[in-house]
């Protein structure tokens, strides 16, 4: 019945019918958020074919990188992951999600993220890593490199980066806490690049390095840490660097986010009014 209705409407409107060519549809779709794309897969078979195509996924991914809003991912004691808008001064809650893999819901620990992909680890195990894409709710359990024996050594930190030669992502793990006698460094991902941060363990300073196309570059020096370096990097994880150079830290034990403002040389704890509601 409904089909007939559609046909009559098409017949009436047929004279001003616009035929949108496939390449135009393609460019429009690459600019849609993932949620809309998942819904529009059911528009028709041709639309589904475009959206499900690998080439489309890649172009969409690059497009989103260029346009996307930066979100802060915060883990809550309830097992929910909250996504907050980093471009909003109040860091408003955009959405929340449970980790799709049930057995890891309570013990998943965020290691780092890059281009919207999140590397998660079972915090009770040393060798179970999962790569998660919250936009599509898809995940993949990573097989560890057979030469790496992580049973005895707990990795201190992980970095995730995109390798344009391979057109794929790489996970980098470091296991040592101390380098030299008194330097400690931790790995993460910043601005889509691999990043290291740390310093001399008893100093109240922190160096942040980032690996760009032409090698390692010192991104920032912070001189006035609230604690000595070794204590600071043990409890705070460096999560994100904004375009203005503000650095976001997050406490390992689900504390509130802390932002470092390089111009004022100040650490500010962000209080999130709706933080208690979602726990």
């Amino acid at each position: 019945m409904s089909k007939k209705k559609v046909q009559t409407r098409l017949a009436i409107k047929g004279e001003i019918s616009i035929d949108v060519p496939t390449d135009t549809i393609f460019s429009i779709l690459t600019r849609l958020p993932v949620k809309s794309l998942l819904r529009f897969k059911s528009v028709s078979k041709p639309w589904n074919a475009i959206i499900s195509d690998d080439k489309f996924t890649k172009i969409h991914h690059h497009q989103t990188k260029a346009l996307g809003r930066n979100k802060l991912l915060v883990q809550r004691p309830s097992g929910y992951f909250n996504f907050r808008d980093l471009e909003n001064p109040q860091l408003i809650l955009m959405e929340k999600q449970l980790f799709p893999l049930k057995r890891l819901q309570q013990c998943a620990e965020i290691m780092c993220s890059c281009d919207g992909l999140v590397l998660v680890k079972d915090h009770k195990s040393y060798n179970e890593y999962v790569l998660w894409n919250p936009s599509t709710t898809k995940y993949r359990i990573l097989e560890l490199c057979p030469y790496l024996n992580l049973d005895n050594e707990c990795p201190i930190a992980c970095g995730l980066c995109y390798d344009s030669n391979l057109d794929d992502y790489k996970v980098i793990v470091i296991c040592k806490f101390f380098y030299g006698v008194k330097d400690i460094f931790v790995l993460t991902s910043l601005k889509g690049c691999l990043s290291l941060y740390g310093g001399t363990y008893y100093n109240e300073g922190l160096d942040i390095w980032i690996m760009e196309q032409d090698g390692w570059k010192l991104l920032m020096k912070i001189y006035n840490l609230p604690k000595i370096c070794i204590l600071f990097v043990r409890i705070m994880k460096l999560l994100w660097c904004s375009e203005n150079g503000e650095i976001f830290f997050h406490g390992q034990s689900m504390n509130q986010p802390v932002i470092y403002y390089p111009k004022q040389k100040q650490f500010v704890t962000v209080s999130l009014p709706d933080m208690s509601r979602d726990s």
Binding site: K3, V6, Q7, R9, L10, K13, I16, S17, I18, D19, V20, P21, D23, T24, I25, S27, I28, L29, T30, R31, L32, P33, K35, S36, L38, R39, F40, K41, S42, V43, S44, K45, W47, T137
Partner: protein, 163 residues
Amino acid sequence: MASSTTGEKKILTLKGGDNEEFILEESLVLQSELLKNMVKEERVSSIPLPSIKSKTLVKIIEYLKKHAELTPSNKEEFKNFEKEFVNVVLEELLDITVAVNYLKINGLLEFCCQAVADRIKDKSVEAVRKIFRIESDFTPEEESEFRKETPEAFEGDLDDTTN
């Protein structure tokens, strides 16, 4: 080489779908890759564009003129113009997008595609089908399968309107 910059300006005629004629400076249409090639290779002075409605052509020419006047000092003004430019009913916006795609005006095409995407991102599947005049070729079973697979994509207030 650049001796004729102040010389007489070449004039070109564009013919819209309803045979309405638009006379404009040739330099303006060079923003369109399609027309640029036609002008350069075939040295034509009149180009028929039967697939483009005159109303759409008027809009596009308006854009070409504004874009040609763009300087670093009136950037803000141009941005406002762009915003107003796509502030039309969705059907008209799609007409413009399709024509711009045909004419290959790259900057404007990207802008139009983004505008269409912004307008349809919260629409329901049914609304999108109406807008793009698509008849579903899925069975009701297949359709409910999509809903089961990604229920979160169908949640929330979806917009059923087509404009």
